[in-house]
């Protein structure tokens, strides 16, 4: 099993690592027993994601998937960000080994959970 250069690059130099204090959106998925946990933090301004950060416990592809997903949603509107799919994550990474596909699914889930969290907080006010 070999990783693409892009996966290794994002694994060794992950973008957007860290936390956002009082995030507008927050999502956490995964399970330590399975070896993966992803945490996504979003800062949203006028329904546009102005910042995204992550923390991940997991393998190289889990870390790379989190890194690329935060890159993909940053600067996007909530509506556009909701279009993110695991397929897109895999494509952007230059492919993932078959046994690692679940990492891209996890990244999609974490982003969507963070967006839902933002939307759920927003609703009562509107």
């Amino acid at each position: 099993m070999q990783y693409s250069e892009k996966v290794m690059e994002h694994f060794m130099n992950p973008r957007n690592v860290g936390v956002i204090e009082n995030p507008d959106g927050y999502g956490k998925v995964g399970n330590p027993a399975c070896g993966d946990i992803m945490e996504i933090f979003l800062k949203v301004d006028n329904d546009v994601i102005t910042d995204a950060k992550f923390r991940t416990f997991g393998c190289a592809s889990a870390i790379a998937s989190s890194s690329i997903s935060t890159e993909l949603v940053k600067g996007k509107s909530i509506r556009d960000a909701l279009q993110l799919t695991n397929k897109k994550v895999v494509e952007e990474l230059g492919g993932l080994p078959a046994v690692k596909m679940h990492c891209s699914v996890l990244a999609e889930e974490a982003i969507k959970l963070a967006i839902e969290n933002y939307l759920s907080k927003k609703q009562p006010q509107s």
């Binding site: 992950p14 027993a33 393998c59 046994v99």
Partner: protein, 390 residues
């Protein structure tokens, strides 16, 4: 710097062994089963290799069967006994920490109607002897337990198991792939009926294994073909590899005690250094007799593959007990059988030292590892939760 710490997976072929093998890859190519003049050197070399191995093990040359791997030897032993003794019974006892060569073969036999009992182990991966005694039944035909575990290095009490097996007239097979050439293995003295090992774990060539089958134990073939290896293992004899295995074993055994001492010291130094420099780590099976070069370390709140790949980027080769690097997403069955929490089992790395490793290399590994663990932990939500809660 390039540092190879994956010697339990395979070792570098010894230069001297390679030189001894070379003529049988080039000059002497006659089929060892032929009768003409071209087979003289190969037949002699094959007989010589068999005698060398037999001498080292303290057994008779006709009890030695060359195979293509340790896995094949394991397969032949389990399937052969199952077949030869099926009229006596269909119950086999093994342990929960065996190599996949044993585990998957037994699973296959289970599909064929054999009953398999997997013995539990304690937190140090030692097989439970009381459980063994309780598991024995009238229809038990075979006990198969490894000599030392490949992941954590624990050396199993094969002498005691042999006594129990003998008292109940049960065949006893030992997978000695990790111990041969590293610690003394004496099947006759110990009371082992079948023993498997392979050449590439002690600086011999890959693609050659060996099975000791005690005379008196009924044989049943699992491969059919020509009459090589006394009709027990067909296929044109790989004389160069047989010669290589014998030469490598001879050399390893001659330096066994000295190398055991040297590797233990190097490993102890490695472990004391990382314990000083890296918080929240556990050294597995630290307090039991284990292989000199094996160090299994659990780095809490991290996943093994990310450590393995980061080390690899810095020129260091290790192996991960985490399944994330294989096709199976479960954490290692050995670590789970030892009762290690699955969330920590995933963060386990096996460092396996060999005869070519130096103290300078270990120092480089300690420094590099310390930096990598700190970097990966800064990314880990589990680590941050742990630090936050402290």
């Amino acid at each position: 710097m390039r540092v190879y710490l994956d010697n339990n997976a395979t070792t570098k072929l010894d230069d001297e062994v390679f030189r001894i093998m070379t003529p049988y890859l080039t000059e002497f190519y006659g089929n060892a089963s032929s009768l003409h003049l071209f087979s003289k050197e190969t037949t002699d070399a094959m007989n010589g290799a068999r005698e060398t191995v037999a001498d080292i093990l303290g057994v008779s040359p006709d009890e030695i069967i060359f195979t293509a791997s340790g896995s094949e030897a394991d397969n032949m032993a389990l399937r052969g006994i199952a077949k030869a003794y099926r009229n006596r019974g269909k119950h086999i006892i093994s342990s929960s920490i065996e190599h996949h060569a044993i585990k998957n073969t037994l699973e296959d036999l289970r599909q064929d109607g054999y009953e398999i009992t997997e013995l539990p182990v304690d937190k140090n991966a030692l097989v439970d002897l009381e459980a063994l005694k309780k598991a024995i039944r009238d229809d038990t035909i075979l006990i198969s337990v490894m000599h030392a575990n490949n992941e954590v290095g624990t050396i199993e009490p094969v002498e005691e198991i042999a006594k129990i097996a003998k008292a109940h007239k049960i065949i006893f097979h030992v997978d000695a792939v990790q111990t041969m050439g590293k610690i003394k293995v004496a099947p006759k003295e110990t009371g082992i009926d079948l023993l498997s090992f392979s050449g590439h774990k002690f600086y011999g060539p890959k693609g050659i294994g060996c099975l000791y089958w005690r005379n008196g134990v009924r044989f049943a073939h699992t491969l059919t073909g020509g009459n090589q290896e006394k009709h027990r293992r067909p296929g044109t004899s790989d004389v160069a590899s047989m010669v290589g295995l014998a030469a490598a074993l001879k050399k390893a055994v001659a330096n066994e005690d000295e190398e055991y001492r040297r590797e233990s010291e190097l490993r102890d130094y490695f472990e004391s250094e990382i314990l000083k420099k890296i918080p929240e780590i556990v050294i597995n099976a630290k307090d039991v007799k284990r292989l000199a070069g094996t160090s299994s370390v659990t780095f809490k709140y991290l996943e093994g593959e990310s450590i393995l790949l980061s080390l690899s980027m810095k020129g260091i080769a290790v192996s991960s007990g985490s399944a994330c690097s294989s096709d199976d997403l479960q954490a290692s069955h050995v670590l789970l059988a030892m009762g290690i929490d699955p969330k920590f089992a995933h963060g386990t790395i096996r460092f396996s030292l060999g005869k070519y490793n130096t103290k300078e290399e270990i120092d480089y590994v300690v420094t590099t590892l310390t930096e990598i663990i700190a970097r990966l932990r800064s990314l880990s939500p589990l680590w941050n939760e742990y630090i936050g809660a402290k």
